[in-house]
């Protein structure tokens, strides 16, 4: 079984992929994440007083999908330490359409495909479903693979 923490640098509470169901390295992945009220975003009791109020934040839905995308190449070039090796940097997103809210108890199934890979730049596309029902679609996500040193340099600039 693949341990996503061996591949991705994200950790609790921001490791938002639970398990890989199916992967073709460099081509596509299907991965799942279970949504639970035990995530820190639900710590405020007032937040879950109604079903609408308990909807999972769309930004985290897309973050989770993007982390699944990170597994496609990451499985052959793992990056468990963000300051070593090559890191995946999110460049842009286009046409992410949301179709239904996600609530605690839902299990997200992310389907991510490589649309195009040119040098160190990769374009992903795909969708997310819950119980076979479409949650959102991603027309295009562009990422760039860069040496981890670029992050250290950027952080250093900000801290001086």
């Amino acid at each position: 079984m693949i341990d996503v923490a061996d591949i991705l640098p994200h950790r609790y509470p921001m490791l938002l992929v639970d398990r890989v169901l199916d992967i073709e390295p460099g081509r596509r992945v299907t991965a799942v994440k279970a949504i639970t009220r035990n995530e820190p975003w639900y710590a405020d009791a007032a937040a879950v007083s109604s079903s609408d109020g308990a909807a999972y934040p769309p930004a985290l839905l897309v973050e989770s999908w993007a982390q699944a995308a990170g597994l496609v190449f990451g499985i052959e070039q793992p990056n468990p330490d963000v300051l070593a090796g090559r890191v995946m940097l999110l460049g842009s997103l286009s046409d992410v359409e949301f179709h239904r809210p996600v609530l605690p108890g839902d299990v997200l199934e992310h389907r991510v495909r490589v649309a195009r890979a040119v040098g160190e730049t990769v374009i992903f596309e795909g969708e997310c479903v819950v119980g076979g029902e479409l949650v959102f679609t991603v027309s295009r996500m562009v990422v760039a693979y860069r040496p981890a040193g670029v992050l250290r340099e950027a952080g250093g600039e900000q801290r001086t």
């Binding site: 975003w41 007032a46 007083s49 609408d52 109020g53 963000v82 460049g91 359409e97 949301f98 900000q158």
Partner: protein, 148 residues
């Protein structure tokens, strides 16, 4: 019915300066990866200061905290809801998002929003800056009929 214990009594929704989107009257953004408050500082501007205490930093990343791009997007979304042209808008799409510089603890984000009606939807273009750096430009589409 949501009870807001920590909202100052004199501050109402839509008033500049002290509105926290997490605890706004609709409760729409009550569940958020960003713990801090987004403040409306003008008719089309919100600000947010990135605290080192934000919970995402523990895991993004251990020993090297970077504020996630998706959290910048979350700030833009909350800024959009705070400045929305009508109540009850729900996020329908992220039409585009471009991330141009990383954001770190201590940064003060200023987000300028520009709303336009586009047939059945409202479109909000949000430009986020940290000091003199452009960090992101996002275009979000909203539809009427409930929050999420």
């Amino acid at each position: 019915m949501t009870v807001h214990l920590d909202r100052p009594a004199e501050v109402g929704p839509g008033q500049p300066g002290a509105v926290d989107a997490v605890r706004d009257d609709t409760g729409a953004r009550a569940v958020s990866p960003v713990a801090g408050a987004v403040h409306r500082t003008g008719p089309a501007e919100v600000t947010f200061t990135v605290s080192a205490d934000e919970p995402v930093f523990a895991g993004h990343y251990p020993n090297f905290p970077i504020f996630p791009g998706m959290c910048v997007l979350e700030i833009a979304h909350r800024g959009a809801l705070l400045t929305a042209p009508e109540p009850g808008l729900a996020l329908a799409a992220m039409k585009s998002a471009r991330f141009t510089a990383p954001v770190f603890a201590g940064d003060r984000l200023t987000v300028a929003v520009d709303w336009k009606r586009d047939r059945e939807r409202w479109t909000c273009v949000a430009r986020a800056r940290a000091g003199d750096r452009d960090v992101a430009v996002v275009r979000l589409d909203y539809r009427a009929g409930g929050d999420r």
